[in-house]
């Protein structure tokens, strides 16, 4: 490298949505400035205005089809929170909470495994190198790591033959034009072959385990929800001949139990050992990609209702400057805590773009000021993204698996402490390595283990309740909007797989008058704010990234993928007062 360069990666692939990264490098190829831009917007909040709040979950859920359940849950929780604020006795039945926990947990484990194998792995795993592996040595390697039964030499030979035939046909399809052979790939051929085999296994596994969502929600992607509980009534004890027409009978419950077992086995036998094995070859990635050092979690997975935060498996709070000795509380309603900025986002605030707005008072007007497409570069000194910049007390925050694992660790969760300890010891890396690209990817695996294990407890409790005669799944009190107070507002919080998620709803006369979603990938992928503070992606890329070849930006992909971007989530925000185009007719 001899000159400073501007590197543009667009599209960032193997993510959800439309993301563009622009980075400036110095003469050594080191990234000095990075800019993250969301390049697609739909305006779902405008579309939500004036509608029945009970319908909102279905619209909000279509924000994203990958983390397909999270916006549905956050949305029904926002309406329930509004009802609870107005009528403190309002709650949902315990069975509904258990079923939601099972669905959320299933989303985590499904999503995290798919992210690791299908979205992230190809940053670390060289598919073509797998052709040089010795299947017998691969089998020995696999069996030294795990008791996973699909590990014979014949099995790996078959996978290798399949890939070889594919490659020899000369049509590489989704594997074409990649960075195979790049010096940044460090795995030996046998580890590559094992990972390719598990890539294919995970594809088959994920199809089966989403059956849990189909039982409770009718389908996946986009399962169904309902304000006040869950739509799937429990029909174990019925005798009217209609059990076959329902899902939550004894057959359905057994399917759920089976999925929980499959999930735990795959995490224990494949995902966790693979993460540790692959990480062992990339320990240098424990020394870059941190960025902010500030972490936020809204908390989730309650055992005594969503308004009892002490009962959460994942705690709520903020960690600042890596300081795990102190977890700061979050005041959701304080005007100066959670705010969104638009200084570098294609929106306009009525009182000027420099201020931040609390989501209950959130306003956004689409205001595209970027270059007319087709364009080569965005003007990063001005506005450059459809994402806003959320901040907590004016500070940029990272949300997601690393934030949650640190929060559990800092709050004394024994399993989290043990898993983190074992991981650091196995990899022989210092505790600082947690704050990195590698730490972020490892944290995703560790929380999958914690959450998959917790599923059995919720299932057992559900069965115990049914056995004791409690089959309530839905609170029909206040179902009818005519029974609601004239004005209500509430916030639906959840920890989505990608991080803290909040839906803020204002209801007037039983209609939505304002709806704002502040989502994980906005926290992480948002642009700079009024003070010029970068978002989490930008800061992470500016942390010790030297590119071997700017034309093959694998280093950028590794760190960006470690966040598991979900950009359709992050970019959807438009305001009640936003620009409304007349319907366009094409002749």
């Amino acid at each position: 490298m001899s000159t400073a360069q501007r590197v543009v990666v667009d599209p960032i692939t193997r993510i959800e949505g439309h993301l563009r990264i622009e980075a400036e490098t110095d003469v050594d190829g080191r990234i000095t400035s990075a800019y993250s831009a969301g390049t697609m917007v739909r305006g779902i909040e405008i579309i939500l205005r004036g509608r029945d709040p009970r319908d909102a979950w279905a619209f909000a859920q279509r924000i994203c089809g990958v983390c397909t359940l999270v916006h549905g849950i956050a949305s029904v929780r926002s309406v329930e929170d509004a009802l609870h604020r107005a009528i403190p006795s309002y709650s949902i039945p315990q069975n509904a909470e258990l079923i939601r926990n099972l669905m959320i947990a299933a989303q985590y484990v499904h999503d995290h495994v798919m992210h690791f194998y299908h979205l992230h792995a190809l940053d670390w795993v060289d598919v073509v190198s797998a052709l040089k592996a010795d299947p017998k040595a691969t089998s020995t390697l696999a069996q030294s790591l795990s008791s996973y039964p699909r590990s014979s030499p014949g099995y790996f030979a078959d996978v290798q033959k399949k890939v070889k035939t594919f490659v020899e046909q000369g049509q590489l399809g989704i594997f074409s034009n990649a960075y195979w052979g790049h010096p940044a790939y460090k795995l030996p051929p046998e580890a590559n072959l094992m990972a390719v085999a598990h890539y294919l296994d995970a594809l088959a596994w994920q199809r089966d385990v989403v059956k849990l969502h189909a039982i409770f929600g009718g389908k996946n992607p986009h399962p169904n929800f309902v304000v006040g509980g869950v739509p799937s009534a429990i029909s174990v004890h019925t005798s009217g001949g209609g059990q076959d027409a329902t899902a939550l009978n004894i057959v359905g419950l057994q399917t759920v139990q089976n999925v929980i077992k499959q999930m735990r086995e795959f995490v224990d036998q494949v995902y966790l050992p693979d993460t540790l094995a692959i990480a062992g070859f990339y320990k240098d990635w424990g020394g870059r990609g941190e960025g902010l050092g500030n972490f936020l979690s809204f908390g989730d997975l309650p055992s005594k209702g969503f308004w009892d935060t002490d009962s959460f498996l994942i705690p709520r709070g903020v960690i600042l400057n890596r300081d795990l000795s102190k977890v700061h509380p979050i005041d959701l309603d304080a005007d100066n805590e959670i705010q969104e900025f638009v200084s570098h986002s294609w929106y306009k605030y009525s009182q000027g773009d420099a201020q931040g707005l609390h989501p209950f008072k959130g306003e956004t007007e689409l205001n595209y000021t970027g270059p007319k497409p087709p364009y080569e570069h965005l003007n990063v000194d001005q506005k450059y993204s459809w994402m806003k910049s959320p901040r907590w007390q004016g500070k940029s925050m990272e949300v997601g698996p690393l934030a949650r694992v640190l929060m559990m660790y800092a709050s004394g969760n024994e399993q989290a402490k043990e898993l983190v300890g074992v991981t650091l010891k196995t990899l022989d890396v210092p505790v600082d390595a947690l704050f990195s690209t590698l730490g972020r990817t490892a944290a995703r695996t560790l929380e999958s283990k914690i959450i998959a294990d917790a599923m059995q407890g919720w299932y057992d409790q559900l069965i115990a309740n049914i056995k004791a005669g409690d089959v309530r799944t839905f609170n029909d009190q206040y179902w009818e909007p005519s029974t609601w107070p004239k004005h209500m507002q509430g916030v639906g919080l959840m920890e989505a797989p990608r991080g803290g998620l909040s839906h803020w709803i204002v209801i007037d006369d039983a209609k939505i008058s304002n709806y704002q979603a502040v989502v994980p990938s906005t926290w992480n992928a948002g642009p700079r704010d009024a003070k010029g503070q970068p978002g989490a992606y930008e800061a992470a890329l500016q942390d010790n990234h030297v590119m071997a070849d700017p034309k093959q930006p694998i280093e950028i992909l590794r760190t960006i993928h470690s966040f598991d971007p979900c950009i359709a989530c992050a970019v959807h925000v438009t305001d009640p007062d936003g620009e409304e185009l007349v319907q366009v007719k094409i002749k």
């Binding site: 305006g43 319908d55 497409p373």
Partner: protein
């Protein structure tokens, strides 16, 4: 060495020697042994999997996620044995410049022959800046990619009909694929998302028979969208008996009674959920206790609340809706009314063949 590809290349002035050299270079680029070049050349000459290019516009990736849930054929089965998935942003290894190049190469090498899949709607506001890939608007990309496509699959309700971005007041000026492209065969596979086996089933049909399946007047394959949810619903006998769940957790809900009064849109929704079910035949929305949202119908987002019982979109249904209020005694009338509605609907579903589309 002979085969369709090599013949084509020879016709285009590429010598056998050049072709072999290309294969050898490719093999060495991929760090394969020298013998692989020859094997590759033979395999390539013998057969090529049809190229499929998938472009994502204003979408949520739900359609991509859905196709990975297909049990037969599976996504990996398709990728390895049936198609060459040359551009698919969620799954492809390459990014940035290399991804753009992959798209460019696939379009050039397979001009006139590739199957183009679109998910998401196309925004026309602010010169297309509401949705860009690599600095290019969706409209620009669609028009360019459509030129060389043999046929286009509009995957999901957004690409088929505009979907959620087009919901009132359509803030970005979103339109469907068929609003833009008028000179290519287009099949709509609506649903939010579509049923996985329907997605792969339509692709398999095209790959096996070389043509799109028979379509209805909304551009949907009749094989999967020929009947309403309600016609094939397990809970239909309860409807006919006038037995309805009144809330999500009453005796009726637990007994699998009809969800009509909870707002089910099954009677006016054409899709295969009730027969194919979802996720390997595990369940489907109505079976799991929630009414059908009507997600495979155009503009279903603006068709009234999901929890409001259907009122009167058509005369026969008006009779049905009235009858439900009367209750069990009206079962026969309801049943009769629905037969009439079904006949009317069938008449409205005149087949559209590929020949019609190409007129």
């Amino acid at each position: 060495m002979q085969g369709p590809l090599i013949d084509t290349l020879v016709r285009q002035g590429v010598s056998r020697r050049t072709f072999l050299k290309y294969c050898a270079t490719l093999a060495s680029m991929m760090a394969l042994p020298p013998t692989a070049g020859r094997a590759m050349a033979e395999a390539m000459a013998a057969s090529r999997r049809p190229s499929v290019i998938w472009l994502p516009f204003q979408e949520c990736t739900g359609c991509t996620e859905s196709i990975t849930r297909s049990h037969s054929p599976t996504i990996e089965g398709m990728i390895f044995d049936m198609i060459s998935l040359d551009y698919q942003e969620t799954l492809m290894a390459a990014a940035g410049f290399q991804a753009e190049e992959a798209l460019h190469n696939a379009m050039k090498d397979n001009f006139g022959k590739y199957l183009l899949i679109i998910d998401g709607s196309i925004p026309l506001g602010v010169d297309g800046a509401y949705s860009c890939i690599a600095g290019r608007s969706n409209l620009d990309l669609l028009k360019d990619a459509a030129k060389g496509a043999a046929a286009i699959v509009a995957m999901g309700s957004c690409a088929s009909y505009g979907g959620i971005p087009k919901a009132n007041p359509n803030p970005t000026g979103a339109v469907s694929v068929s609003d833009i492209i008028k000179d290519k065969p287009i099949v709509n596979i609506p649903g939010c998302p579509p049923i996985p086996v329907v997605m792969t089933g339509v692709l398999a049909h095209y790959l096996t028979f070389g043509s799109l399946p028979e379509l209805d007047d909304k551009g949907r394959p009749k094989a999967f969208y020929g009947e309403t949810i309600h016609d094939r619903c397990y809970r239909r006998p309860f409807y006919d008996q006038g037995k309805f769940a009144k809330t999500f957790d009453d005796e009726g809900a637990r007994n699998g009674w009809c969800l009509f009064e909870l707002g089910c849109k099954g009677p006016v929704t054409y899709n295969a959920c009730a027969t194919t079910k979802w996720n390997g035949g595990t369940s489907w929305p109505v079976e799991s206790g929630h009414g059908c949202l009507g997600c495979s119908e155009p503009d279903f987002w603006d068709a009234g609340s999901f929890y409001k019982a259907l009122s009167t979109p058509a005369n026969p249904l008006k009779l049905a809706a009235t009858a439900t209020v009367v209750g069990a005694a009206a079962g026969v009338a309801v049943s009769f009314a629905n037969r009439a509605k079904k006949d009317a609907a069938k008449k409205a579903h005149q087949p559209v063949t590929l020949a019609d589309l190409e007129k």
